[in-house]
C-alpha cells in the first residue's frame, strides 16, 4: 500500500510525540509536581511577537498573568510585564530516560514569569509538563500491558487452537469466565486488599499487571480461531507428514499467520489500555499524586465546575484524540489485508 501523505504526517506526528514523551524532561519547561499556589487554574500563556508599545520582536514574548482584583480566581494578561522566551535554557534539574542528569530545557522564560502552554491545574502546576510526563506513565503502561496481554493471549490462544480437545475447552471456558466477571467490583475489592501505601513504581507495575492480565481473553480467542484454520492448511499438514515437531510447526508456520493479527491487535489495544489507565485512576488503583498520568489528569474533569470553567483542562483529553487516531491508522496500515497489498 502506498502510504497517503496524511497518514505519513500523522504517523510522523505520533513519532514526534513519543520522542517528546520519552524525553519529557527536556521538552517540558517545569517539574510536573511543582506547585505554584499563587496561580491555580491560569489559562494557557499567549505568545506575542508585538509588545505593548507595538514594537515587533523576533523572539516571541510571554506576558505575566495577574489576579483580577474585581474577580478573584480570574486572571488578566499584564502586557507591560512581558519577557522573551529563551530556547535551550537551564532550569529545573531532571533525569533523562530515568538516569541521565540534566537541567537543559528546550524553552523557558526568566523567573518569576511563567510559560504555561496548556495552562495550570488546581495546584498551579504546568499542565503541558504534566502531559508529557504523564505520557511516560500512560503510554508505557499501555505499551507494556499490551505486550503482556499479547504474550499471554498468544500463548494460550495458540495452545488452545493447536492442541484442541479438553485443553481448548478449559482455556476457552476460562476466557468466557474472564469476560463475564464484573471487573470494576473485583478491582475495588483488590484495592481494599492491597497494602495502604503502594509506591509509584509498585503501583505502575500493578497497573500494568492488572490491565495486561485482565485483557488476555479477547486476543486469545481471536488467535485461537486463526490457529484453528492455520493448522489445517495443506502446507502445515504436509510438514506434519514429513515429521515436523509441534514446536517447529508453531514457530515456522502458525506464528507467521498470527504475527500480523498480533500487530493489529497491539495497535488497537494500546489506546484502549491508555483509557483503562484513566478508569483505574478513578478507582485509586492508578499512580498516586503528585506523579502525573493521563488518567489522573483527566479524572479532574468529572468535576462539573472544572469542566465548565477551565477549558484548557480539556486539552490533554483533546490531544489524546489524534494520538488514538494515529494508533488506529497504524492498525489499519498493519492490517493483514493491507499487508498483503503492500507485498
Amino acid at each position: 500500500m502506498k502510504c497517503g501523505k496524511q497518514t505519513t504526517l500523522l504517523l510522523a506526528a505520533l513519532g514526534v510525540l513519543h520522542v517528546a514523551i520519552l524525553l519529557a524532561g527536556f521538552f517540558s519547561p517545569y517539574d510536573p509536581a511543582q506547585q505554584n499556589r499563587d496561580l491555580p487554574f491560569t489559562p494557557p500563556t499567549r505568545i506575542h511577537f508585538v509588545d505593548a508599545q507595538s514594537h515587533v520582536h523576533i523572539d516571541p514574548l510571554v506576558c505575566a498573568f495577574q489576579d483580577r482584583p474585581d474577580a478573584p480566581g480570574e486572571y488578566f494578561e499584564n502586557r507591560t510585564r512581558c519577557v522573551p522566551i529563551h530556547f535551550l535554557v537551564r532550569g529545573t534539574p531532571y533525569k533523562l530516560i530515568g538516569s541521565l542528569h540534566s537541567n537543559f530545557h528546550l524553552f523557558g522564560v526568566d523567573a518569576p514569569a511563567k510559560i504555561v502552554l496548556m495552562g495550570t491545574d488546581a495546584y498551579g502546576r504546568d499542565v503541558f509538563s504534566r502531559f508529557l510526563y504523564g505520557g511516560q506513565v500512560s503510554l508505557f503502561a499501555g505499551l507494556l500491558a499490551t505486550l503482556l496481554t499479547l504474550v499471554f493471549g498468544t500463548l494460550l490462544g495458540t495452545l488452545a487452537g493447536y492442541y484442541g480437545g479438553w485443553f481448548d475447552a478449559v482455556i476457552m471456558r476460562g476466557s468466557e469466565l474472564f469476560m463475564a466477571l464484573p471487573w470494576l467490583y473485583l478491582l475495588l475489592a483488590l484495592r481494599a486488599f492491597l497494602p495502604l501505601s503502594v509506591s509509584t513504581g509498585e503501583s505502575f507495575l500493578l497497573l500494568i499487571a492488572v490491565i495486561g492480565l485482565v485483557g488476555w481473553a479477547r486476543p486469545a480467542r481471536m488467535i485461537r480461531s486463526v490457529v484453528l484454520s492455520s493448522r489445517e492448511r495443506h502446507y502445515v499438514l504436509a510438514a506434519r507428514l514429513f515429521g515436523a515437531s509441534d514446536l517447529y510447526l508453531i514457530r515456522r508456520h502458525i506464528l507467521q499467520d498470527i504475527y500480523s493479527i498480533g500487530l493489529t491487535q497491539a495497535a488497537l489495544l494500546i489506546p484502549q489500555y491508555v483509557l483503562a489507565e484513566v478508569m483505574l485512576s478513578f478507582l485509586g488503583l492508578g499512580v498516586g499524586e503528585p506523579t502525573p498520568s493521563w488518567g489522573n489528569m483527566l479524572s479532574v474533569l468529572h468535576q462539573y465546575a472544572v469542566l465548565v470553567s477551565y477549558w484548557w483542562m480539556l486539552m490533554p483529553g483533546l490531544l489524546l484524540v489524534p494520538v488514538f487516531l494515529g494508533y488506529s491508522l497504524l492498525a489499519s496500515y498493519l492490517h493483514p489485508g493491507r499487508a498483503a497489498e503492500r507485498a
Binding site: 499556589r37 491555580p40 478573584p72 488546581a122 484495592r191 495502604l196 501505601s197 498516586g288 465546575a305 470553567s309
Partner: protein
C-alpha cells in the same frame, strides 16, 4: 452570642421563675379554637406556591425515631415539631411546642408547659400523652433509637412524668448544661398512630418512605402528600400548624415542597442552574464560583453564609491497641512525639489550602472550633505563621536529622515516610492531602496520598486501625461543646486518633476528659467557656488533630423566594420553611 449569655444568666439566677425567651415570638390565643399559637416575626408574605428542593439521596425512612441519614432528617424536619427549638440564626433555644419552661434551682428538673389546643397534621389533638409516649419510645433500648444516647445523661436516662394536662417534668441525674438543646429536633410523635406498632415491637419498620400519607402525622409545617420512589417526595401544607404571622394568617405560606432526588452534587448544580430547583444546599466552593458567575443572567442568588461548623484536619494513627511489631506501630514512635506533630502543623500552608481548595471561601484553622461558634471559639489560641525553619528546628530537637539527599530520618536512620489516607469521593480532602504532601516534601518527608473509597476509609479508622495518617472532616450538628463530647472524650466513639481507649493514654487526654465532663455539668456559660477554652489550648499544643480549614456554608435560592435566611446550622436553608413565600412575580 448576647442571647446565649442572657439566657444562661437567667437560668442561673432566676431558676425558679419562668424562663421567657420571647424576644422574637410571643404567645397568641386563637379565640375561636382556644389554640395557643406562636406568632412569627418574619416579614408578611402571601399564601400559595410550590418550591422544589434537591436531595442528594432518597430518604431511607420518614420515621424520626430511627432516621440517621441527612436526607431523611431533612424531610422529617419539615414534618415534625419539637418542644424546645434552637433558632438557627441566633443559635439560642426558644419555645416551640412547649410554650415555656422552668429549670429548678439545682439544674436537675425541667418543667415544660405544652401549648394548648394544638393538633397533629391529621387533625388529632396533641396532648401530654403524646409527649410521654415519644420519650418512652426514644428511651426504649429495644427500639434502638438514634436519639437515645443523647438522652442518657451521666449514665442514666432522663426521667419524665406528667404533672397535669399540659405540664411535663423531666428529671436529670446530674446538671447538664446543654439540656435545653437536647429537645431540639426531637420530634413529638403521634401516640394514636404509633402506639399499636410500638406495642407489637414493629416501630422501626413503620413509616418507611412509601407509607400512605394518611398513616403519617406530625407537628411540622408540612405533611406528606406523595412519594414516588426514585423521583421525588412531595409535602403539602399542614393546615393545623401552630404558627401564625403578624396578620394572624396561619403559616406556612407555601402550599407544597417537592424534594427531588438527584444522584450527585453536579446534578444538583445543573438542575439549579436550569431553574428546575428553587433552593440548593451545601454548594461546594467550585460550584459556588460557577453559580456566582451566572447570578447576573439568571434569576437566582448564591449566599456565602460564613464559616461552617465543619472542621477538616490531619491526624496520625495513635491507636494504642496495635501489635507492637506492625509497621504502623514502628511509625507511631514518630507520631507520638508532640514535637513531630507540631513541626508538621508548622509546615502546612493553611492559607494555600483555603485559597486552592476552597477558592478563599474558607477559614484557616488552628483549633477544631470554627468561627461559626463565635461564643465558644478561643480567640487567644495562637495562629503561628507557616515556617519551615521552625519546623526543622522542632524536628531536630525531637531527634530527627536529614540525610545527604535532604530526606528526614529518625534516630535509627530510617527515612520518615508515611501515607495520608483520604476519601476518594471528597475532592477537597484529597486536594488538602496533596498540598500537605508538597509542604512536607520541604521538610524532607515523603508522604503518599492514598485516596480510598469512603467506607473503607471509615473502616480503617474506626475498625481495623490500619492507616498511618488521614485527612478527615467533622462538625455539623450544633455549636454547643456538647456536640463534640464524642470526639474529645478518650472513651468517645469519634475519638479518631485513638479509638477504643479504655483509659486516657496521656496526661493531657486525661485532662481533656476531666474538663469536658466538668463543662457539661457547669451551668454558668462563662465558666463553661473557660473550661472549653482550656480544652482548645490543650488540643492546639498537643495536636492530636492538626486543624486545617473550615469551609464556608454556601447555598443558593431563587430570587423570588422571600424570607429566605440561610444559616450555618443544619438544615441551612429550610429551617424556616413556614415563613418562606414566593414573591408575586414568581408564583408557580
Amino acid at each position: 452570642m448576647e442571647h446565649y449569655f442572657s439566657r444562661h444568666s437567667a437560668v442561673r439566677c432566676l431558676s425558679t421563675f419562668v424562663v421567657c425567651l420571647l424576644s422574637f415570638f410571643c404567645r397568641a390565643q386563637s379565640p375561636s379554637t382556644g389554640e395557643e399559637l406562636l406568632i412569627s416575626n418574619a416579614s408578611l408574605g402571601h399564601a400559595g406556591g410550590r418550591i422544589v428542593v434537591s436531595l442528594r439521596s432518597e430518604p431511607k425512612t420518614l420515621n424520626p425515631v430511627i432516621s440517621a441519614d441527612i436526607s431523611s432528617r431533612e424531610v422529617i424536619s419539615q414534618m415534625m415539631g419539637d418542644l424546645i427549638h434552637v433558632n438557627r440564626i441566633t443559635q439560642t433555644t426558644e419555645p416551640a411546642l412547649a410554650r415555656e419552661w422552668k429549670v429548678s434551682h439545682d439544674g436537675l428538673q425541667y418543667t415544660l408547659k405544652l401549648r394548648r389546643g394544638l393538633h397533629f397534621s391529621d387533625g388529632h389533638p396533641l396532648s401530654v400523652d403524646d409527649v410521654l409516649f415519644s420519650f418512652t419510645v426514644y428511651l426504649d433500648e429495644k427500639v434502638h433509637s438514634s436519639q437515645r444516647d443523647a438522652l442518657v445523661i451521666g449514665g442514666r436516662p432522663i426521667a419524665f412524668k406528667r404533672v397535669d394536662s399540659d405540664t411535663v417534668v423531666f428529671q436529670l441525674s446530674q446538671p447538664y448544661a446543654a439540656a435545653e438543646r437536647l429537645f431540639d429536633s426531637l420530634a413529638v410523635l403521634p401516640k394514636h398512630l404509633l402506639e399499636q406498632s410500638y406495642k407489637e415491637g414493629k416501630l422501626a419498620q413503620t413509616w418507611g418512605p412509601g407509607t400512605s400519607p394518611q398513616q403519617i402525622a406530625g407537628l411540622g409545617p408540612f405533611r406528606l402528600k406523595e412519594y414516588v420512589a426514585g423521583q421525588h417526595l412531595t409535602l403539602e401544607r399542614n393546615p393545623y400548624y401552630w404558627k401564625i404571622d403578624r396578620a394572624k394568617h396561619r403559616l406556612p405560606y407555601l402550599d407544597q415542597i417537592t424534594f427531588l432526588f438527584l444522584p450527585n452534587a453536579d446534578a444538583e448544580v445543573i438542575r439549579f442552574q436550569a431553574g428546575d430547583t428553587d433552593v440548593i444546599n451545601r454548594v461546594s466552593a467550585e460550584d459556588y464560583s460557577v453559580l456566582e458567575k451566572d447570578q447576573a443572567t439568571h434569576s437566582f442568588r448564591v449566599y456565602d453564609v460564613g464559616p461552617s461548623l465543619e472542621y477538616n484536619f490531619l491526624f496520625f494513627n495513635l491507636n494504642s491497641v496495635l501489635p507492637p511489631q506492625s509497621d504502623i506501630a514502628k511509625k507511631q514512635s514518630w507520631f507520638r512525639q508532640v514535637g513531630f506533630r507540631q513541626a508538621i502543623s508548622l509546615a502546612i500552608d493553611r492559607d494555600g489550602i483555603s485559597r486552592l481548595v476552597y477558592r478563599g471561601r474558607a477559614t484557616p484553622l488552628w483549633t477544631p472550633v470554627t468561627p461559626a461558634s463565635s461564643f465558644w471559639v478561643d480567640n487567644s489560641i495562637p495562629h503561628p505563621a507557616r515556617s519551615i525553619d521552625q519546623a526543622r528546628k522542632l524536628l531536630q530537637s525531637a531527634g530527627f536529622s536529614w540525610s545527604r539527599d535532604g530526606d528526614l530520618t529518625d534516630r535509627a536512620g530510617a527515612p520518615v515516610q508515611f501515607s495520608i489516607m483520604t476519601s476518594a469521593s471528597n475532592n477537597q480532602r484529597t486536594q488538602m492531602a496533596t498540598i500537605i504532601q508538597q509542604d512536607l516534601k520541604e521538610l524532607g518527608i515523603s508522604a503518599q496520598v492514598v485516596p480510598l473509597e469512603f467506607h473503607s476509609v471509615l473502616d480503617r479508622i474506626f475498625q481495623t486501625h490500619d492507616y498511618e495518617a488521614a485527612v478527615l472532616g467533622l462538625g455539623g450538628g450544633d455549636v454547643d461543646p456538647d456536640s463534640q463530647m464524642n470526639v474529645w472524650l478518650s472513651s468517645g466513639n469519634d475519638h479518631v486518633w485513638d479509638i477504643g481507649e479504655t483509659h486516657p493514654a496521656t496526661s493531657w487526654e486525661a485532662e481533656i476528659d476531666q474538663l469536658m465532663k466538668k463543662q457539661l455539668s457547669t451551668l454558668n456559660p462563662d465558666a463553661r467557656k473557660l473550661l472549653y477554652d482550656r480544652v482548645q489550648e490543650i488540643i492546639a499544643t498537643n495536636l492530636p488533630v492538626i486543624s486545617l480549614a473550615s469551609p464556608n456554608t454556601l447555598v443558593g435560592a431563587k430570587n423570588e423566594l422571600a424570607n429566605f435566611r440561610p444559616a450555618v446550622l443544619d438544615p441551612h436553608t429550610l429551617w424556616n420553611s413556614e415563613e418562606l413565600f414566593l414573591s408575586a412575580q414568581g408564583q408557580k
